[in-house]
Amino acid sequence: MKIVLRLAWRNLWRHPRRTWLTTGAMVFSNILLVFMISLQFGMYGLMIDNALQIFTGHMQVQAPDYKDDQKMRQIVPDIVPLAKTIREELDSEMVAARGLTFALASSEERSFGIGIYGVEPEFEARVSNIPGLVSTGRYLAESDAAEIVIGGVLARNLRVGVGDELTLLGSGLDGSFAATVVDIVGVFDSGVNDIDRNIAEIPIGLFQDTFFMEGAGHQIVIVGDGLGAVPELQARVQSVLPADSNLVVPDWDELLPGLKQAIQADMGSSFFMYFVLVVLVSFSVLNTQLMSVLERTREFGIVMALGLKPGRLGRLVVLETAMMGLIGTAIGIVAGGIVTSWFTTNGLAFPGMDEMAARFNLPARMYPEINAFTLLAGPAIVFIFTMLAAIYPAVRLRWQNPVDAMRVA
């Protein structure tokens, strides 16, 4: 073993308690970082999945300007056959066509302006969790039936229930007056007030007939195997679209920019907190190393007198810090990984969380998402800051004069 390496290792264990205390601070912060970052990413995954499962899907086929200007005329022609083609090409049933308009829904007593989705009942459940959230009655059954499912809040506002009739009044694609009468077959409760108050779904055939869509719709929703598969799936969908069409395939990030911004804002505040933690640990390391260098001033004078260059002494201090940092990082990653892995299987719940989660249609337990990034990012940053903390004690040695150093008691 090289002499500097051997010296560094033995110096590290001159004061085992001090070394372990400093290493312990690093281990603790590493465990905390691994767990918190994993939990955070798990929550983001849940937030994204939850947001996308309601309506958006991983991507949609739309008219080019529909995303920014949801007008009735921004259509996807022959939408149901196109959705069928995409399903066949992708060999996936997680593809569903939709139309969307805004209309006046009237019961015997009240009227409200709502958003009406025309959906393919057979496939909607594959891309949206609304069909699964029907709490009273049933979901839509046939593509042409004159039936509707509405949100629970809307049902209360309209004072209607399953079996009652609603009259829908709106504008057709050509601007003409459109109206139909539908039977309420189901009421859903998504837990999201805006959706439960403002949204209703009818079969796409009825939608196209009522609003004179001539076979058109507004969005084909596609769900893939996960967020990681989105770019490839997006390219495949794009290739399926008719060559002469100008349809676009925005992904979830484009469709819900607010979601990513919310996540980024949350990440920003969390990472500031982590930064403070890392800085505190770095100061603990700086304190230890500075103390260690100061108490060995005489010894450093001796080895300089024997012919060791100040630069090599600086490397010795850096090496000691690196050894301590590596021990803290290794133990932190392993312990953090074990703790986090346990929670990825068993989940994490707080008192009263299940009730709150149910309101937002979230699972009652949170599950951390463990991957290379969540496992290594925090400890890597702690290690880098630990090494930065070694710079000052190491550089300080460069100015040390052997005679002055040896005079220190």
Partner: protein, 230 residues
């Protein structure tokens, strides 16, 4: 060519409001293989002179030559190289590295020099035997007596066969028997290896071993005696 040559060295320290002349126009020349004692009362300038010769301290003015090379204008790194390759140090307080064993302390300089492990081991075994520490190679400084530690320090200083050994009060912390043994060892090494020894001391018995005695007072050389002639 002389082993050491100092020309008109001056060094002043500031102590409180006072300027203390540690070296006051000192000029000496020490030949290769000489065994020299620098004698002075405390504060007489012997350690400062020793430090200047060893490149541990830079004089305010004057010139220092070691083995014909001027060293007072060298950089810190160059001085470290000079000490590593040409000079062995023995200090009053032993100054061993506490986390290394006796053998590792002895091998330290050789290892920094880049000597292969087998050669290092061979040399350290031989030198530890020579200084009477056979069987104690694995002990750390804290597990040895003062005399044993000083022997390790001597072994470390001479293990790489430096041309010049500088010793600052090497017997100050030793009993008279151990001090005599150490001085006999120095004398032996001086004769066998033609190593130049410069020893700073105020111990009368140590001075009797020296071939040449240089007396200092208040930073000046006041006497330079060839004891062999006497």
């Amino acid at each position: 060519m002389s082993a050491v040559r100092c020309v008109d060295l001056c060094k002043t320290y500031r102590q409180g409001d006072q300027d203390i002349k540690a070296l006051d126009h000192v000029s000496i020349e020490i030949g290769k293989g000489e065994f020299v004692c620098l004698s002075a009362p405390s504060g007489g300038g012997k350690t400062t002179l020793l430090n200047a010769i060893g490149g541990l301290d830079i004089p305010d003015s004057g010139e220092v030559y070691v083995d014909g090379e001027r060293i007072d204008n060298l950089s810190k790194g160059e001085l470290a190289d000079l000490r590593l390759q040409h000079i062995g140090f023995v200090f009053q307080a032993y100054n061993l590295i506490p986390v290394l064993s006796a053998r590792e302390n002895v091998e330290f300089v050789m290892q920094v020099q880049g000597m292969p492990a087998a050669e290092r081991r061979e040399k350290s075994n031989a030198i530890l035997k020579e200084v009477g520490l056979e069987g104690l190679e694995g002990r750390r400084p804290a597990e040895m007596s003062g005399g044993q530690q000083q022997r390790v320090a001597v072994a470390r200083a001479i293990a790489s066969r430096p041309a010049l050994v500088l010793a600052d009060e090497p017997t100050a912390n030793l009993d008279s028997k151990t001090a005599d043994e150490l001085m006999e060892l120095f004398t032996l090494l001086n004769k066998h290896h033609n190593t130049t020894f410069v020893i700073a001391t105020h111990d009368q018995r140590v001075m009797t071993y020296a071939g040449r005695l240089i007396r200092m007072l208040d930073g000046r050389i006041v006497d330079d005696i060839d004891q062999r002639a006497a």
